[in-house]
Subunit: 555 residues, 2 copies
Amino acid sequence: MAQAHTGAVFNKPGFDLVGNYTYAFLGDGCLMEGISSEACSLAGHLQLGNLIAVWDDNHITIDGDTNQAFTEDVVKRYESYGWQVLTVGDGENDLEGIEAALKAAQEVKDKPTLIKLTTIIGYGSKLQGTHSVHGSPLKADDIKQLKTKFGFNPEESFAVPQQVYDLCHQASARGAAAEEEWNQLFAKYSEQYKAEAADLVRRQTGDLPEGWEKSLPVYTPADAAVASRKLSEIVLQKIYEAIPELIGGSADLTGSNLTRWKGAIDFQPPATGLGDYSGRYIRYGVREHGMGAIMNGLAAYGTLLPYGGTFLNFVSYAAGAVRLSALSQVRTIWVATHDSIGLGEDGPTHQPIETLAHFRALPNFMVWRPADGNETSAAYYVALTSKHTSSLLALSRQNLPQLEGSTIDKAAKGGYVLHEVEGADITLVSTGSEVCIAIDAVKELAEKHNLKTRVVSIPCFEVFDAQSREYRLSVLPDGIPSLSIEVMSTMGWERYTHEQFGLNRFGASGAYKDVYKKFEFTPEGIAKRAVATVDFWKDVPNIRSPINRAFQQLI
Amino acid sequence: MAQAHTGAVFNKPGFDLVGNYTYAFLGDGCLMEGISSEACSLAGHLQLGNLIAVWDDNHITIDGDTNQAFTEDVVKRYESYGWQVLTVGDGENDLEGIEAALKAAQEVKDKPTLIKLTTIIGYGSKLQGTHSVHGSPLKADDIKQLKTKFGFNPEESFAVPQQVYDLCHQASARGAAAEEEWNQLFAKYSEQYKAEAADLVRRQTGDLPEGWEKSLPVYTPADAAVASRKLSEIVLQKIYEAIPELIGGSADLTGSNLTRWKGAIDFQPPATGLGDYSGRYIRYGVREHGMGAIMNGLAAYGTLLPYGGTFLNFVSYAAGAVRLSALSQVRTIWVATHDSIGLGEDGPTHQPIETLAHFRALPNFMVWRPADGNETSAAYYVALTSKHTSSLLALSRQNLPQLEGSTIDKAAKGGYVLHEVEGADITLVSTGSEVCIAIDAVKELAEKHNLKTRVVSIPCFEVFDAQSREYRLSVLPDGIPSLSIEVMSTMGWERYTHEQFGLNRFGASGAYKDVYKKFEFTPEGIAKRAVATVDFWKDVPNIRSPINRAFQQLI
């Protein structure tokens, strides 16, 4: 997909600049995992002719023969996806057959190809054809007989014959020549297509175009209340022109995730009449795990900055790909809407409880839960400019007011004081859609309970934890008891506050306001817990802030 | 699978006691999700003739026409899985065709059946055939014309014609007769097969056979050090006879997860010669998400108690199914081995960091990380006897000594004092494979730093949180600073301890001892942080235990 899109954008008549094949090597296990079905069904639909997968068909998995659990007709399955399927029966010896299959794969331009390469695992070993050779090294006597069998000196270890060196050097020379040829082509291209060439070079550095951030919307409290999923749509609408490498999509929830800017062209095979390969909007279908893996691939290719949408709760289906994005240090962005029990009648199956704790615990991954427009812009700013870190934006379905005191700069620190007061009795700490309720609780606490209340917003734990100790202590100082408010698992909030108000049970189906009321996420419900907090902590002298610890080892 | 197994175990000549069909209704989205590929490929392999799936082939998903993302040949794909595929072209009107297809599906006994039922979404509405009818109610004028079209009175709301009532009552009568017939059959069966009948009735209560817990192994410190994955295998080997509803498997990691007791019969179609349907060991293949969903189904059926194995890190692939087990309140058990950076050379792709935080934050789900044999027995005891809660056992690859002070009863409380001392300077709190290192740190701290150290083990947060405040405060009392030790994300540990020693980054590839040493999970590394903890907290009078809070809302 990355090649098809980058080629469609940058190739010009006489300049086949981006035309590489992408090779994937698959085992039986890969074919059993659902993610391969999601990705390969989509690859067939997208007619990705430059994608060539080689299946090591050795009939063995860790548990033994594939006849125990994997007897489907793989050839037929891949044909059903619209792939070309080729077979090579003797994968150890039929080198001409392998070469012919690869050439035949390259020639078909409107279908990906699967080459079924039948092999014998541990070929030549005494244990060949068994699962015993999967995870353990061969024994010394087995290695000896193997070397003898294949014409090597059995007494030599780590010896590479000159013949092999020579062949590899030939490959190096071919590669160097191909690179030189490409460089010359690109030099000519740069003369004729100066802007495009500069853009391609810039993209590969990971830097965004100069001045792009001027497109980010800024809000004042006078602006209307807007759902943060809608605030995200406004950001995308404003930045898509400034950042041409931005390529997005949704796992079949476009109208709910609001991930598609007006006038976007779909990434589709031209033959479908639904778009073309230069299109920057991807219709992933209901395939969250596949989407996550594809985003990782798009980002790794080096010329694209992918984002993808689904409901926050369904990002969990893609947990494997999310983890790999963090470990691979690629830049992808999850637009995760409907981020709480505030999503309404869909109920507990759709309402995340454990999800933020899960992804906040993942290293090198930023979870943002913005409270208003400025915080949403800040989340996008940090996500888009963090070259080696993936991000998730948890966004509301319900409207959120523009807050007094929020700015892009402050929110970009991950946590900040939204509302300060002299001689505070308590600090309320919150994220996303609960911040405005906490603000409303300030008044309630002042009028009914004569308490002075500070409010802190922590839209991103990962970024806040990276600030200096001094700054963090200024946000969450000693001497004041604190209460966190977030309508999901309290797991992790003990890091920042003395008391936690959350939801450590599954949610409920109902209109947003009814569900929030049921669980007391109202100014009154917060005030009740704030009063209990102040009361409980009043006999502790010199209350220590939870972040005032001996050591912190978080990032 | 549940029907095939339960039938194979309980049916007798002349007594077709358990022979139900299982019907599944699928949309296009279900077919796109990878989990359907995993489960349906396995269903084909297992030749589940009583499984009948009806695909609502309406060409529409939320984003619009399926031609945007889903153009695979579903019929061919299901045939490739070894299914019978039937088609009904006019799903709205061809009632005879639907009935004939269902009968044809029932007749084929060695293949599951997919019925492709082509339909028009929102049939009869002005919006029929569009995605607009997916998520929103029809407008009043549309409902009126629809009712008129189909012969209803357009002015009546919520009116059910007598004809429909009559038809439904006929169905009730048929159902009652069928139930009566089955009850008579079962009464006869109970006379002839007393033990089997009693067993079937007992299983459906969810109670385990009386005295089963006597099979649980008990250890003393004199017993050998054993990996907790091996301790789990010993439990399974001891209890499988006592608990006949126990049915297990692994996602192709049997030899690593140690999930198969000696002499187990595989659950396989008899025709394969690899086992039979009475077998209690399931070869899931490399299909974690499918395995999780299948375990949920097996548990929901009412006669089985399923467990399934994979590496802890790969349980994340099944996050959707794990969540649904908790929400559905079914009893399933994940045997999650290789539970930390202690797994060795496989490295960061296999080493969980965020995984325990993720599943600990999930409501109604128990995460156990036992430190020795008695704790492993306790984990199994609580998991097996919790009728409405799923569990995960995080188990080590490396050997763990049998600890002084651990008992099944104490560990079954989720957290307890393993090592007490008068006038303690610090409490070390740990789980699993780090507990024994914490114990070793006690000596180091006494000899080199003159500090008195308590040690607490918390094998299960969820269960510990359910204990009385008084008990929890006796385990984690005021007045003593505390340090947690666990080789993964510290997220959540702030709930119990003042300071945390964990791993908030990805791991490293290497031998267990080298990797633990690199990250300082050694008696010396713990002692260093314990000294820093004591030093940092010494100027705080009357240190409050982190669990001494105004309110707790965790379970």
